[in-house]
Amino acid sequence: MLSDKQLKIIYGLIIYLLLVGVLCYAAFPEKTPEEPVRMMFKVAAGKVLFDHKAHTSDMHYGLSCYDCHHHPMDDDSSLIACGDCHHSTEKANGLPETCLDCHDADEVEDTEMLKRSDAFHDQCIKCHQDFEAGPVACAACHVLQ
């Protein structure tokens, strides 16, 4: 059996650890960096882990932001999440129906708003094929686990 003093020490330890735990969660919530490191797309065909940093870093592929982020070209306003324009479902659900919803006709060439999956497939696979590097087959990106 524990003495009263030992019990008090243990109660104190519980309270101390609880406070530290709550403080860590409350004061340091998880922050998503402005420029993503990796991104996990969870879709019906299986999850896709996309290494954003490997594509942009000079140590790896060294792509320019505007190689992927477009409309308007070479403009920081294009540096937004793909899903902010390209909707992930057949319905737009409040997202733009066409590019012309936001852009003037002289700003963009293609006015059709691709679904997010079509936009990804077109862009990723075409680039991988052009450079003869990176995955092309479905199961090379989409995983079920």
């Binding site: 059996m1 524990l2 030992q6 019990l7 243990i10 330890l13 519980i14 309270i15 650890l17 609880l18 530290v20 735990g21 709550v22 403080l23 860590c24 969660y25 340091f28 998880e30 922050k31 998503t32 960096p33 993503p36 490191v37 990796r38 991104m39 996990m40 969870k42 999850k47 882990l49 940093k53 199961a139 090379a140 995983v143 079920l144 686990q145």
Partner: protein, 320 residues
């Protein structure tokens, strides 16, 4: 003549050598600290500290609440609840939400241990049971690739076992065993630092706090099974060292499979128990549905433990 003296035992009163159950748990906690401090808190920072502190404190609180509810003596002083909380935190990703931690310690302490009557009565390892229930219920929170997506270390942060499961051996070519040993891999807070876990395990085995037969048989089971798979099809199945140093293997071998009340006590049963755990771990990883089968394998061997305990030495002398 000397051999006869070994059998001489004096009568009561006996001298207590001072060893207590709390001492044992305290030493297991000490042994786990290198893996947590250097592998987890150093690598994953403040979120990992939050998970560990919340897990240990709520595990002790659940124990206290159950003591009060069941009108039993306060048992948090034995250190078992703190140890369960600590081991549970070691298996979680550093970004685990607070409610997952609290739910997990509830499952471990209340459903995994107190329902069976407290320490020594549990049929399953409470930590493995809790992780398995949570993993089945909220599997996305045990997807280390998705949970640790914002960490940017200077090594490959894709979860090695997921890479193996999804892409075969070609998906793990860039990993190195050296990286796994020094904790340069993705995984649970206390499950990534191979050297820390091995040192902790070695300390516990040498001091006799855990049974070396179980740990070494478990690792041998993993090694032999993985080696057989690798020999049959080296394109799909990784080499045994990859299996030993990734996922929950080391923490399972030294800290989970060796839990007292859910593991056998005799020599042969311990070897079978450990080897069966290693075999099941690799079977689940290689041909099962889950990425890491360690906790499920440990539950399976917990299940066969009462049967294994039937294998016991013959009683000396004749029964009249």
């Amino acid at each position: 003549m000397n051999s006869q003296k070994k059998l001489i035992v004096s009568h009561a009163p006996f001298l207590h050598n001072g060893s207590k159950i709390s001492e044992r748990h305290l030493h297991i906690i000490y042994a786990a600290l290198p893996a947590i401090l250097l592998g987890g808190l150093f690598r994953f920072g403040i979120p990992a500290i939050g998970v560990v502190c919340l897990s240990v404190s709520t595990a002790m609180l659940w124990e206290l609440i159950m003591n009060r509810a069941m009108q039993r003596p306060v048992s948090i002083g034995d250190g078992n609840a703190a140890l369960i909380g600590l081991l549970f935190a070691m298996l979680l990703p550093a970004t685990a939400p607070w409610w997952l931690v609290i739910t997990g310690t509830f499952v471990a302490i209340v459903i995994g241990k107190q329902i069976f009557g407290g320490i020594g009565g549990n049929a399953f390892n409470p930590v493995a049971l809790s992780i398995a229930i949570l993993m089945v219920s909220w599997k996305d929170f045990f997807d280390f690739n998705a949970m640790l997506v914002n960490y940017d270390p200077d090594f490959i942060m894709a979860y090695p076992l997921a890479a193996l499961k999804n892409f075969g051996v070609s998906g793990i070519e860039k990993y190195s065993i050296g990286d796994f040993l020094v904790g340069r891999q993705s995984g649970g807070i206390g499950a990534t630092f191979g050297i820390g876990l091995i040192l902790g395990g070695a300390y516990l085995m040498i001091r006799g706090f855990i049974r070396w037969e179980i740990s070494l048989a478990y690792l041998a089971g993993v090694f032999v099974t993985a080696q057989l798979f690798n020999l049959i099809d080296p394109v799909h199945y990784a080499d045994p060292f990859f299996h030993i140093f990734t996922g929950y293997t080391l923490i399972g071998a030294f800290f989970l499979a060796t839990e007292d009340s859910s593991s056998p006590v005799n020599f042969i049963p311990m070897l079978i128990y450990g080897a069966a755990g290693g075999l099941m771990t690799v079977l689940i990883r290689n041909i099962g549905a889950y990425i890491d089968g360690t906790v499920l394998a440990i539950l399976v061997i917990n299940l066969i433990h009462p049967l294994l305990d039937k294998i016991r030495p013959k009683a000396m002398g004749k029964v009249v």
